[in-house]
């Protein structure tokens, strides 16, 4: 069957990519550039969450801990050691090792539990990390946080924009490769029916731990990049809100579709920026969490397939018609 060019998602993705690459050359809006950079980085964080929520079917309320570990590790390396590219790359390695160890340990200890307990326990562990970051003042400067210099190469906003953009593209293809791999297929089987997958002879726990580690590594890297864009880090990176942002982005964009996380990240951050602007008009918009929370509840209840899921449904209908 000949595919209709209108519904070819690759074409749309390619066009979006070209537009995004061209963007810095046509627009000189600094704030738009920064917003897009944040969208790319949050998209990676949301994708890493999608590995857990969308592909394996587990809910973690503590995903912010990996994000926070990444942000703090990079910040501390650049602040304490040297603000060069070498220090940044070494810090990325350390982030991978740290988040790998933490996600493995937490996975081994908690993934045996039922979903309720797992959600609660991850919430508790992330809380511990928040307390740790607040109390270990020598290293983290407490809840005030600290600013630091970033490598000269990344100082230019446009360079950082491209770095984040390609970071997102690379992570997208890596994670896509992972979810399409045999391991990824087993994860999706676990999501669909845990008992049946187990009786087919798969060690559920092992696969869940793999998912947890992969998600942890990706989240840690996005945390590092986040710290670089802000040039500042404080304990907010460990907050429950960070996890919930990822949850919201994943759900609005469409669970179980890595691309949906990118769409979700863009939607949520754009809406957030819009609402922050509106706060000048009416104070109620300062409480944007209400809108997000309500949107989130409605999305879970009535719109579980998300934007990308919905587009795919339309595409199926189109093909059949």
């Amino acid at each position: 069957m000949k595919t209709n060019w209108l519904v070819s998602s690759r074409l749309w993705m390619g066009m979006a990519a070209i537009l995004l690459i061209g963007f810095p050359f046509v627009s000189d809006s600094r704030s738009a550039l920064i917003l897009l950079t944040q969208i790319f980085i949050y998209a990676v964080f949301a994708m890493s969450y999608d590995i857990l929520l969308g592909y394996t079917g587990i809910i973690s309320f503590g995903h912010a801990m990996f994000f926070g570990i990444g942000a703090y590790t990079t910040a501390i390396f650049l602040h304490r050691w040297d603000h060069t590219m070498l220090a940044f790359l070494v810090s990325l390695l350390v982030v991978l090792v740290l988040t790998g160890i933490v996600s493995y340990l937490i996975g081994v200890m908690t993934l045996r539990l039922k979903s309720h307990f797992y959600a609660m326990l991850t919430l508790a562990v992330a809380g511990l990390f928040l307390v740790l970051a607040e109390k270990w003042r020598d290293l983290t400067k407490g809840s005030d946080g600290f600013t630091f210099y970033i490598p000269d190469v990344l100082k230019d906003r446009t360079t950082l924009y491209f770095a984040s953009f390609f970071f997102m593209i690379i992570m997208f293809f890596l994670l896509k490769r992972f979810t399409d791999s045999p391991t990824g297929k087993v994860l999706q089987a676990i999501r669909e029916n845990e008992q049946r997958t187990e009786s087919l002879g798969y060690q559920i726990l092992h696969y869940k731990i793999i998912a947890s580690v992969v998600a942890g590594l990706a989240a840690g890297m996005s945390g590092s990049m986040y710290a670089i864009t802000l040039r500042f880090v404080n304990t907010a990176v460990f907050g429950t809100n960070v996890t919930l942002d990822a949850l919201l982005m994943t759900i609005v964009g469409g669970v179980g579709t890595l691309f949906g996380s990118i769409v979700g990240s863009a939607l949520i951050l754009l809406v957030h920026a819009g609402l922050t602007d509106l706060a000048k008009i009416h104070w109620i918009f300062e409480r944007w969490m209400i809108f997000f929370g309500a949107l989130y509840i409605l999305a879970v209840m009535f719109f579980p397939q998300g934007v990308v899921g919905m587009l795919r449904q339309w595409k199926e209908k189109w093909k059949r018609a």
Binding site: L113, S115, H116, A124, L244, I251, I290, F292, A294, I297
Partner: protein, 284 residues
């Protein structure tokens, strides 16, 4: 010695407050396997609205009654419109109730402003007695007394009434109860309302106990209640009472002697229980 005794009384009073929150949580989970992340928000709403009514009417008792009524009403609304549609779907349940917690906390900030609200005790409760070097604060004893009363009341309800019989049977085997022609959804609605009003009562009692309230107490005490429910065993009222006392007293001692690790100790306690005895200390 006096310090130890004072700390113990403090701990028991805090434990009573946590128990009020945990009792509803454990019943709701035991009966319907719904883990209500928004339970802490009911605590905060009880505190804010109770205090509001208290300052409007200038009567502490009316404030307490108001908090209980508002908790019950909210419980009814939440159960009917938000929890019921996601009964069978654990994933949506966890997410919806967590979203609810956020929205309800933010609503409090909209209604009452983002700053913390200070609360003063009525004069007749704001006294203390000195008993051989031990200071007995009247309000703490009042809180403990209410905690004991509620515990006895819930125990009576569970053990001596028809509703309690159905609830206990439902905790054991939900399908069997339904097969006997009992509308368990209705029973669950009642339990949810009961749990919500207990949480709101706990919040209202907490307000003058700490002197200030802020919108974050829902999350903070919600987590404590979860820890208690996990330690005590899901669905067990006695377990929750014991665990609430344990967490309360342990918390009081830790805050006094090693304040920096106070929160971590509770978390580690829950961690240990979940690792080695996932059913909880008093669970089956």
């Amino acid at each position: 010695m006096d310090v130890l005794l004072n700390l113990t009384i403090n701990g028991i009073a805090t434990g009573s407050l946590i128990f009020l929150l945990a009792a509803g949580l454990t019943l709701i989970f035991g009966l319907m396997h719904v883990l209500n992340f928004a339970h802490g928000a009911l605590f905060a709403w009880g505190a804010y609205f109770g205090v509001w009514i208290y300052t409007q009417t200038d009567s502490f008792l009316v404030g307490i009654l108001g908090a209980i009524v508002i908790g019950g009403l909210l419980g009814w609304l939440l159960e009917r419109w938000i929890i019921q549609p996601v009964y069978t779907n654990t994933m949506s349940q966890i997410q919806v109730t967590m979203g609810l917690l956020l929205v309800m906390n933010e609503c409090l900030k909209v209604f009452f402003g983002p700053n913390q609200v200070s609360v003063r005790l009525p004069d007749y409760l704001d006294q203390s007695w000195l008993l051989g070097g031990v200071i007995l604060i009247k309000y703490r004893l009042f809180v403990i007394a209410i905690g004991i009363l509620v515990f006895l009341g819930v125990q009576y309800m569970l053990k001596r009434t028809r509703l309690g019989l159905i609830v206990r049977a439902g905790v054991m085997n939900k399908e069997m109860v339904q097969a006997l022609g009992i509308n368990i959804k209705k029973v669950f609605l009642y339990v949810f309302i009961l749990g919500s009003s207990m949480a709101a009562l706990g919040g209202m009692l907490f307000a003058p106990y700490s002197g200030v309230i802020h919108a974050g107490i829902g999350m903070d005490y919600g987590i404590l209640a979860f820890i208690v429910v996990v330690i005590g065993g899901m669905g067990s009222i006695v377990g929750s009472a014991m665990a609430a006392l344990l967490v309360g007293v342990l918390g009081a001692f830790m805050t006094y002697f090693v304040p920096s690790v106070a929160l971590a100790v509770n978390m580690l306690l829950m961690f240990g229980v979940l690792m080695f005895r996932p059913a909880g200390l008093f669970g089956r």
